[in-house]
């Protein structure tokens, strides 16, 4: 009997090693090793393919902070950051409405959430079509007599980033909406009943019951908006390829690496972005933990 079965200590060891080794190896190779490599590349002028490269110290970092072509792209992130607030506002509005009794609740919920599931490339084309000359937006504007307001939505530098940021709002509002709705619905319905019996109107119910119950999660989403707006990539890449001032930091990084073959410089850019995201996330963790322990 004992000869057939490993004793439990050996079994335990075997299981621990067998069951964890592949995920840990994958994590090290695809999450941590790239980081180490990136720090290393960022100190060189490597082009990504030639056999040798030169150590250049912090020159790449200096270029990013002094050459406006690299640093100015952070300005684009501001549009997406501001958009985050609209996105959260709309999400909160609809989550609040749908947390009360509404006819066809499932239909509204489904329609508002569905855009979040769509393929980014499909969304890119949908909004290229939406914004194109004589496209959907132009047609709607002429229809309501605002023909004079028509712009080159994706070409005109004064408005193209707003057009792209709106696309991002359209895509992600459903996600925040679903999260907020879940948080609101986790409040015991008896609380609303009691409030209603006490004569609280909808506004007071919102202020004193709904808002406190989702304050934390709204705050968390604002913080996520910071890292989100810094790492915007696919919508502007697919729709405008980052032209006419719609370049984001990530598009710039990817182009620097793979189009202009400045892998060292691109690595330095990635490291800077990574540091910002990590600092923001850590601050958020500290803040929410403090709140939770209070």
């Amino acid at each position: 009997m004992k000869a057939i079965r490993f004793d439990y200590r050996t079994q335990k060891r075997l299981i621990i090693v067998l069951f964890t080794i592949i995920p840990v190896a994958l994590l090290l190779v695809f999450s941590y090793y790239p980081l180490v490599k990136m720090v290393q590349y960022s100190l060189t002028n490597w082009d990504g393919f030639s056999p040798d490269s030169k150590f250049v110290g912090l020159a790449n970092y200096k270029t990013i902070f002094t050459d406006p072509t690299y640093f100015s792209v952070f300005r684009t992130s501001l549009y997406y950051f501001v958009a985050t607030f609209f996105q959260l506002g709309f999400a909160l509005l609809f989550a609040t409405i749908l947390s009360f009794k509404v006819k066809f609740a499932n239909f509204w919920k489904g329609v508002l959430f569905f855009p979040y599931l769509l393929n980014g490339v499909a969304i890119g084309f949908i909004f290229l079509y939406f914004y194109k000359q004589h496209g959907t937006l132009d047609t709607l504007l002429s229809f309501i007599g605002l023909k004079s307001q028509i712009h080159l939505w994706l070409g005109d530098r004064s408005i193209n980033n707003i057009s792209l940021a709106f696309t991002s709002i359209w895509r992600y509002t459903g996600f925040n909406f679903l999260i907020f709705l879940g948080a609101i619905q986790s409040v015991n319905p008896e609380v609303y009943e009691a409030a209603e019996m006490d004569g609280a109107n909808r506004w007071n119910q919102f202020r004193f019951i709904i808002l406190p119950s989702i304050k934390e999660i709204v705050f968390l989403n604002i913080i996520l908006g910071v890292s989100g707006s810094l790492s915007v990539f696919d919508i502007p890449y697919i729709m405008t390829s980052g032209s006419n001032g719609t370049n984001t930091f990530v598009i710039q990084t990817i182009d620097t690496a793979f189009k202009y073959n400045k892998l060292g410089l691109a690595s330095a850019m990635a490291i800077i972005l990574l540091l910002i995201v990590v600092v923001v996330t850590v601050l958020q963790r500290i803040f929410t933990r403090e709140k939770a322990s209070r």
Partner: protein, 275 residues
């Protein structure tokens, strides 16, 4: 007075919902309308006008010339292999972490926690070199391996769920003479169906919509996935909108069908993934 106030409130409630729904639907609806129009009809009519007849020839062009069958085949292959890998690796890993104590447990968990902070897109610059050095560039395995290697969320979902499966279940099997492997296969795995469905849905949507990895690592036209097949419409069909629009609808349709049939699971899965 009170009743009057109530009706105005109701009116605004539904007005806002209708506006929200129109904003969400109209951009997709006009794409649907345009996808049936012939080129001349498209140029001579407005975007909001209905097509004269239901002509599927744009769909045929998009599907055949756009190599969308290749796209669906590759996407499905990546999905199937990645999911088997994620579910097996994730559940086994979570089992070992949740049920046993060992020296490296805490450092390993810390590694996984910290990895969540790293935005995948920023490290592509170096990941590319690694994939290339492994000889996986322009192979379907590049994307599969990356799907497996950067997946922390499924592990968390499994871990969370395992907390709720009582250890007494393992113990009674153990007393009946089962070894740990049998406990995992016969006791734990059958109990993990719910988190598996959640992961299947979240990762499924993610893999179906993934554009960046296939775009960067598999430029070979035979390795097109659904996103890159659609993206390729940008060049040759630059001005042929009806065909592009048909392509967009072809890509959206499977997601719409899945959404309509699995709505509840999708809501729970998406909401559960952020906890």
């Amino acid at each position: 007075m009170h009743a009057h106030h109530f009706t105005i409130g109701t009116f605004f409630k539904y007005l806002l919902l209708v506006i929200g729904a129109v904003v969400a639907i109209v951009p997709i609806l006009v794409v649907f309308l345009g996808s049936f129009k012939s080129n001349t009809e498209f140029l001579s009519t407005g975007v909001l006008s209905l097509p004269k007849h239901l002509d599927f020839s744009n769909y045929k062009t998009a599907f055949v010339n756009g190599q969308m069958l290749t796209g669906f085949k590759n996407t499905f292959l990546i999905f199937a292999i990645s999911m088997v890998g994620k579910l097996l690796l994730g559940s086994a890993f979570a089992f070992a972490i949740n049920r046993f104590n060992f020296k490296l447990k805490k450092p390993i968990m810390a590694l996984f926690m910290v990895a969540m902070l790293i935005p995948a897109i920023t490290s592509q610059v170096a990941t590319f070199q690694i994939i290339n050095a492994m000889g996986l560039f322009n192979k379907i395995w590049s994307v599969i391996v990356l799907n497996l290697g950067t997946d922390v969320i499924s592990i968390y979902i499994f871990l969370q769920f395992l907390d709720g499966i009582p250890v007494s279940l393992d113990e009674s099997a153990y007393l009946d003479g089962a070894n740990y492997f049998q406990i995992f296969y016969k006791i734990i795995l059958p109990n993990l169906k719910a988190p598996m469905v959640t992961i299947l849905i979240i990762s499924g949507v993610q893999i179906y919509n993934d554009f960046y990895n296939p775009f960067l690592y598999m430029p070979d036209p035979n390795l097109k996935v659904i996103s890159t097949a659609l993206f390729a419409f940008k060049g040759p069909y630059g001005t042929n909108w009806p065909v592009i629009l048909a392509g967009v609808i072809i890509v959206i349709l499977p997601i719409l069908i899945v959404f309509l049939t699995l709505q509840k699971y999708i809501y729970n899965g998406v909401a559960g993934s952020v906890k």
